[in-house]
């Protein structure tokens, strides 16, 4: 489960988080992905120093840790906003107008798809199917899902979170 980033922490605190999580996995095979997932869940993204610390803690070359992290779409290398607005672009959402939803939300927040608002409140992220196809088009903010949206309703949902 992804939570938005913890704001205002120092790199030293980030590294302490890495040590705490990686410590539980030392010597466990196949631990790179769970460690990356848990670290990102706490920090919000994976800065390069954090990748290096994970590499050091698990005894895996940094190239491999970065190679794995960059392969999977879940991992981010830049800070994200307090809320991540995931706009579903599965088949059903596509045929029901997900493109217009993305355009409306980007316009409302004044960011490009994939970008983060200047105030650090929102990151807009077009994602692949989140499996709520019969409620298409769908967006997710945190763990909350909103379905059967029109562009105007999508703007309203985002506005509510901004308050």
């Amino acid at each position: 489960m992804e939570k938005a980033g913890v704001q205002g922490k120092t790199m030293k605190e980030y590294l302490a988080i890495v040590d705490e999580i990686a410590g539980k996995y030392a010597d466990a095979p196949g631990s790179v992905i769970p460690v990356l997932q848990q670290v990102q869940a706490r920090i919000g993204y994976l800065p390069i120093d954090v990748i290096e610390r994970i590499s050091h803690s698990l005894g895996v070359p940094p190239s491999r840790v970065y190679g794995v992290a960059s392969f999977y779409s879940q991992f981010r290398f830049n800070p994200v906003g307090k809320y991540i607005v995931k706009i579903c672009h599965g088949t059903a959402c596509h045929v029901q107008g997900a493109g217009a939803i993305t355009a409306a939300i980007c316009d409302e927040l004044g960011v490009e798809d994939g970008g983060t608002t200047e105030d650090g409140m929102f990151t807009v992220d077009s994602v692949s199917c989140i499996g709520c196809c019969s409620l298409a088009p769908v967006i997710m903010i945190g763990d909350d899902t909103f379905g059967r949206l029109t562009p105007a309703e999508a703007r309203k949902v985002v506005r509510e979170y901004g308050k």
Partner: protein
């Protein structure tokens, strides 16, 4: 009926789609309103009943009335349901979806279904092991451990004719047999819950609605092949499924259905959950194994198959969620009962996720061999009024679009494959005359191009080139020869890719060219999109005789492309127009046309 002391049961469907439609608020409102009301009502939760189009759904059972289902329930309904139905004993007619002993329009959705995988969907609390056990859950496991040898289990599954429900359709019993014959003490079983096909949500619903049925099937598989360790590989995008699975595993361990000595049989099995990290290719079994091992999820050449050399180099059996959810039912009811459903080569039932331009979208389980038309029109109610059916997309990015001329085919593995589509995992996205088939092909190619792991050149580069061609066709810049180039590239990618992703990536393009070539030609030669979906090809115009100059459209246009004074005919500057359709939607006088 008395105003107090009524024994009633109210059940709210709390799956992801129900929650998205507002079911959690409904559940909490029931909690609040029932508190201190002085009536004896049991408030329960359940998973997805499959009628996603009517969510949120609430079941009410009061003595003497039978089960009543309400659809589209909002928090405002709660008070009336309690007062009129529970206390007053009178169902509220206008919200009825289902009432025992009464014929209602929504019955058409449920009546033709045969529910094996979804046997408990929408009736049990997925977070209660007692509910599952009360329906006969874990009886099959007990039977297997007490009275059957691993070979006997495998032969029952073989006889049932069950084939892998993840898409490829390999016979499950044969797969188990291969893994069981491998020498060695360490073997693994894996549940592939990396449901990545856009438009598919069967596995999510099963895990959210009845996680124990999958777990029981997995333990039986483990016993059959001789594995003591297993994994659920679940998409991280399914947080509720993961949560309910965690509860199921903890409860099953406590009850002795998992652990070092299951039900005193001496057989031990433990299971872990691995969260996927977002890579479609990990639905391919060798890529999935690489991902569990902590590597990039890139497929390997087979053979060796995972049955011989899988996770950590050990014999491994992988099946998808739906496949495992069938197992306990087959053991309890017998291979023959299962094989009595379906066709010669495709036995049993199949769960489909109906979505897109359809009146009744949701989860349906039907016997194999049912007519495609019956699923879409009888169960799903066809396309929305005023629209015409164009095609149905089966099998997601690996599948294809089946046009109306094949709507009467019988749904089994072989018949679907003959159309150029595939059965796939069960996603069924319906398209009508407002869906552009070139745009759909572009959509899928965009997906597979993005998800290609990059190992094979044809898949990595070829899909990119195909996508560029499709993008330019949709942008009105298509050239003579583009269709032939797409066909040639498509065939090469199919023949030169290692795994299923590349081998099937061109399918959505090839099938749409095969059945809807005229739409491609209209885009390329006439620079026209017949479905009015490709924005770059649309021209908006004001119908002068209808326009009264109300200025609504000038205000609605986000880019200032519509101009005109009050009470004068407006004009649209198509150089500025982005085709967002806002002007046409606000116009009350049919004064804006698009072509």
């Amino acid at each position: 009926m008395a105003t107090s002391g009524v024994i009633a049961e109210i059940t709210v469907g709390l799956s992801s789609c129900g929650i998205a439609a507002g079911a959690r608020d409904v559940y909490e409102t029931f909690q609040q309103k029932l508190e201190g009301r002085g009536i004896d009502v049991e408030l329960k939760r359940t998973g997805c009943v499959g009628m996603c189009y009517r969510e949120p759904l609430v079941d009410v059972v009061v003595p003497g009335l039978g089960k009543t289902t309400y659809g589209g329930v909002t928090t405002e309904y709660v008070e009336r349901i309690i007062e009129e139905h529970v206390v007053g004993g009178k169902p509220i007619e206008e919200w009825l979806v289902h009432l025992e002993g009464r014929e209602l329009p929504d019955d058409a959705y449920l009546a033709p279904q045969e529910r094996i995988v979804l046997r408990n969907a929408g009736s049990i609390d997925p977070e209660s092991i007692d509910d599952y056990v009360d329906t006969g859950g874990y009886d099959a496991l007990a039977t297997v451990l007490k009275s059957m040898s691993p070979d006997e289990v495998i032969s029952v599954i073989k006889d049932s004719g069950l084939r892998g429900r993840g898409g490829a359709g390999f016979p499950t019993g044969v797969k188990w047999g291969l893994a069981s014959q491998q020498p060695g003490d360490v073997k693994y079983v894996i549940v592939n819950a990396d449901e990545g096909d856009p438009g598919a949500f069967m596995d999510r619903s099963i895990l959210e609605g009845d996680p124990h049925s999958v777990l029981e099937g997995l333990v039986i598989a483990a016993y059959a092949i001789g594995a003591n360790e297993g994994y659920f590989y679940v998409r991280a995008e399914y947080p509720l499924a993961i949560k309910r699975l965690e509860i199921a595993i903890a409860d099953a361990t406590e009850r002795g259905f998992l652990g070092s000595d299951i039900l005193g049989s001496g057989f031990g099995f433990k299971v872990k959950i691995k969260e996927g990290a977002g890579a479609f290719v990990c639905g391919e079994e060798t890529a999935l194994i690489a991902s569990i091992e902590g590597q990039r999820g890139m497929p390997k050449l087979r053979p060796p198959y995972p049955a011989a050399k899988g996770l950590w180099g050990k014999p491994t059996n992988i099946n998808n969620v739906e496949t495992y959810a069938n197992i306990a039912w087959i053991i309890s009811n017998g291979a023959e009962a299962y094989a009595s459903y379906g066709t010669e080569t495709s036995k049993g039932t199949k769960v489909f996720a109906l979505a897109g331009k359809i009146v009744r979208g949701g989860l349906v389980e039907v016997p194999m061999g049912i007519r495609l038309r019956d699923i879409i029109f009888e169960i799903g109610g066809g396309v929305p009024e005023g629209r015409t059916f164009k095609a149905v997309q089966l099998g997601g990015p690996s599948g294809g679009c089946i046009p109306e001329e094949f709507i009467d085919i019988l749904v089994d593995y072989e018949s679907v494959t003959k159309t150029g589509a595939i059965m796939g995992s069960g996603g069924m996205v319906v398209m009508d005359d407002s869906t552009c088939m070139v745009d759909i092909a572009r959509f899928f190619l965009n997906f597979t191009q993005d998800e290609s792991c990059g190992k094979c050149t044809f898949c990595r580069v070829g899909t990119k080139r195909m996508l560029e061609i499709l993008e330019r066709i949709c942008a009105g810049e298509g050239q003579e020869g583009d269709i032939e180039l797409l066909e040639e590239l498509g065939e090469k990618i199919v023949s030169s890719s290692l795994c299923g992703l590349g081998q099937s990536a061109p399918n959505p393009v090839l099938t749409t060219i095969k059945y809807f070539r005229d739409e491609y030609e209209a885009h390329i030669q006439e620079k026209r999109c017949p479905a009015l979906a490709c924005k770059a090809l649309l021209t908006y115009e004001v119908v002068a005789e209808n326009c009264i100059g109300c200025t609504l459209c000038t205000k609605a246009c986000p880019v200032g492309a519509v101009s005109g004074e009050k009470k004068e005919v407006h004009t649209i500057d198509n150089d500025l127009c982005t085709g967002c359709d806002a002007c046409r939607q606000v116009c009350r006088f049919d004064a804006i046309t698009v072509r």
